[in-house]
Symmetry: C2
Subunit: 380 residues, 2 copies
């Protein structure tokens, strides 16, 4: 089966290398790149039409990233009756309903395992579990950059700034790390994972998100006192027929499986009614792992293995029924709460549970007077 | 697609319940049981021939356990052109080459995910990873009973006897717990997992095994001093074109993912050349989880998803090139080693690495004079 790869960066090159090394029955006929490489004149093209108009190419793999021109290329490929694999969380999260519908209308497959979880077969196993089970909740660490920062802050007692610098030096964080540390990257992966888990097209903008930009060494020290480890968690589930979905720093028992996820590794967990908790752990990024995930999707298409069911409807997350206790650190005073410590900065542990919706609203309010405020959900 | 379930115990009933509750396109037409149940006269039979001779039944699921009559039933079903799913680690491990060949000769599928890892899609993901990667090593916790015992000894500082009694009371250990605590159950799962990982039919008797029957609260206390957690690990890999495969108590860093596996949970990990480490975590036993794994295998057969490649050859494990350091606790003196403590019992930490083959031979020798001696490999 002949394929084309759009984008010859990290992921695209990883996928090409894996296909070249293994015996998959797949062949990369063309690669769309921004510039020609010596010795690759036969395979690289700078013109997408060379791929779109080639009837031999049955699968188009998109590893460009961003919304445009990825959206135009993927739409055109689906309309031309070509299967698509995408590693692009931004694209898939933003156009989930539309691209899924387009694939179905044209009788082709759209798969996107590498978009959420990198090298981990998280989405394929979520799809597989649903064949004979119903998913009650998902909870995941899906951003390697923030996990790397939080891990080093915890293990080496680093400041946020030093840990971020380390992540940048190691190539895990970009020069502008905002999409990672503010949780936008994770929000997209949350929307994609929840859409599959609950058979909807979940509006990414309805997912409440709080990142780790303002976490301090003092926060980490307080968590250690509590016997907790902080991770940036994706949580989504169904309660009272509403879908909740949010991304927030979460304090977990230091003996939990999630607390043992080191460095830039990721983990995705599902709770099924029959199967209970299943977790999938591995490299959430990187050329060969994510490239491998792309190739696995291609093989699934070649073997006719069914993908995610069509979304029943579009949906917005409703976090007004999901609640837990919170840690809040701010120099502002919080109405109705008693502060616990009066050192460099005060923090609060809520006695009662707040709904996720309440807490994210309250945090927005607090940050008007204290832009550096930080909060984290307390799990268990 | 119509199926028959052999055995209406824990796993067989779990599989039936899941098929009844979900929309899989599968139908359980007959169940082979040892006695009739009121109201189930149409579905239960006491005679295997009712299943064998029913041309409508395309899949036979074996959940009887033991070698006989499971072997006769499974062989007959394969010869009759029926697909087989088996939850029976003893059967699959013992007849790996023969049953795989029989399935191929008759153009049908033999799958056995529930035999190793219970509800965890460990074997299916191992098979999936191999489609475009080569497996360098597997390392797993595949026995819930011993994990439950070790977990409670570690968390609650229990003696082995009290922890075993607790496992029996909770239904995780049998009245005669030998197969679990002596590692025989794990040996079979090791042989099956390694056979898939390395494309062979691995002789189960060549797998070196040491169990946890003689571990004491004193050992656990020593491990805590060392910052280590003890788990009964399966390890297998390829080195110098030889396959190593063994089961032994292993001391892991307390921050490792494996150390965070609680209670009776299991974990299976693979290291692939491209993908790096991938881990799969969940319930390693139980009616619904293991039943679910059986149903997933049935769906894979129905969807035509390919199973494990045919073994290239039979093979024996060779543990003469795989080495690491060891903890040895014995009242006997060990030639060439200096004991570390002289309290209730002496123990040794080897300064240099021993091969697994050497250590298992040495332990057999030591146990002639000290039947209660215990050892554990040291990882990292």
């Amino acid at each position: 089966m002949k394929a084309a790869i759009l984008g010859y960066g990290n992921v695209g090159k990883g996928a090409c290398d894996i296909i070249a090394q293994s015996n998959t029955g797949l062949e990369v006929k063309r690669i769309l790149a921004r510039r020609m490489r010596p010795g690759m004149e036969d395979i690289i093209t700078l013109d997408f039409n060379d791929i779109l108009n080639d009837p031999e190419i049955e699968i188009v793999c998109e590893a460009i990233g961003g919304l445009s021109p990825a959206y135009q290329y993927v739409s055109a490929a689906l309309k031309a009756g070509k299967h698509v694999v995408s590693a692009n969380k931004e694209l898939i999260s933003h156009y989930y309903a539309e691209l899924n519908a387009l694939a179905r209308e044209n009788g082709v497959c759209l798969r996107f395992a590498p978009s959420s979880g990198g090298g981990i077969p998280w989405l394929p196993n979520l799809i597989r579990a649903k064949r004979c089970d119903s998913i009650e909740e998902i909870s995941c660490i899906l951003n390697g950059t923030t996990n790397y920062i939080l891990y080093n802050m915890t293990e080496k007692s680093l400041s946020f700034e030093t840990a971020l610098k380390g992540a940048q030096d190691a190539g895990y964080a970009e020069a502008d790390p905002s999409a990672d540390i503010d949780g936008e990257d994770t929000r997209r992966k949350c929307a994609i994972s929840a859409s599959i888990a609950f058979d909807v097209a979940l509006d990414e903008n309805s997912v409440d998100v709080f990142g780790i930009r303002h976490i301090t060494a003092g926060d980490i020290a307080a968590f250690k006192e509590m016997g907790k480890v902080c991770k940036l968690m994706v949580k989504a589930g169904v309660k009272d027929e509403k879908i909740y979905a949010y991304v927030e720093p979460t304090l977990l028992s230091s003996s939990s499986l999630e607390s043992a996820v080191p460095l830039n590794y990721n983990i995705g967990s599902l709770v099924g009614r029959s199967i209970g908790k299943l977790s999938f752990y591995g490299q959430g990024a990187g050329s060969l792992p994510t490239g491998s995930s792309m190739v696995q999707d291609m093989i699934d298409i070649k073997e006719g293995i069914s993908g995610a069911p069509a979304p029943r409807s579009t949906a917005k997350a409703d976090n007004s029924a999901e609640s837990h206790r919170y840690y809040i650190r701010t120099s502002a005073s919080v109405k109705g709460l008693r502060s616990i410590s009066d050192g460099d900065s005060k923090f609060y542990i809520t006695d009662e549970e707040y709904t996720v919706a309440e807490m994210h609203e309250m945090a927005a309010e607090i940050r008007k007077s204290d832009p550096n405020a930080f909060f984290a959900g307390i799990c268990g």
